[in-house]
């Protein structure tokens, strides 16, 4: 049986890559995709704990389904907002949205 820590380290690595993408990208679409990577890493953690700690209740998998639902809703709305921003400013580079800067 694969040790639980292997899955946790995989999720940690995936989360870190997603975090790096969310911090360093200028394109808003890439930032959204990196956030999705982080959510997937959290899902791997949830399902791994569910199947190793309490495999008979499947609560981690149900939680992961709700995370997936919220992530899908967030992506839909985020992309709609990005499209609106593009219509206003003809760009999706987050550096260009600095109207609130003092």
């Amino acid at each position: 049986m694969i040790p639980l820590t292997y899955y946790l380290i995989l999720a940690a690595g995936l989360f870190s890559v997603g975090l790096y993408g969310a911090l360093s990208k200028r394109n808003a679409i890439l930032i959204l995709m990196s956030i999705e990577l982080m959510l997937n890493a959290a899902n791997i953690n949830l399902v791994a704990f569910s199947s190793y700690v309490s495999p008979e209740t499947l609560k981690g998998q149900a939680f992961a389904i709700f995370v997936m639902v919220i992530a899908a809703a967030e992506v839909g709305l985020g992309l709609a907002l990005i499209l609106l921003l593009f219509r206003q400013r003809r760009t999706v580079e987050v550096d260009q949205f600095n109207l609130l800067r003092g």
Partner: protein
Amino acid sequence: MPELSVNLAVFFLLAVVTIVSALMFVSRKNIVHSVLWFLLTMLSVAGTFFLLGAPFLAAAQILVYAGAITVLFLFVVMLTMTRIPEVRVFGSTQVNGPLAATFLLLFLLVTVVGVTETWSAVAKNGAGETTLTAALGLVLFQDFLLPFELAAFVLLVALIAALFLALGETLK
């Protein structure tokens, strides 16, 4: 014992594919290439779910992430006509802030996980005589009925909001 090593080999293959495609995703200059590597990452995470004994979640991952969300991203990439080359990952000589923060986080996570290795593998008695998907359905509709209905409501609200945001001009 042979079953043990096959599982381990499959896990390492999936883990390598996941991490490598995630790294390729953040390092490509062409955004369409990034989206394709993102798709491969989602598929390998689905494979990880299969390995963890969550077949329904793996299928949902393929349907939702690798199917709908990737296509959504591709459409938006097309509609925003992105041409901007992205930041080079391993090219700058200055201290790369996000890179340093990421490595620090990764180091902390791996340290915590490796040091507190006291998780014990509970004897897998399974979830009863029903299949795993049926058991998950029972959990969703008995223990998590309220969150389930609220999640459906959230999806409805997100759908209406996204439609209104995207079509707001033409609806007036």
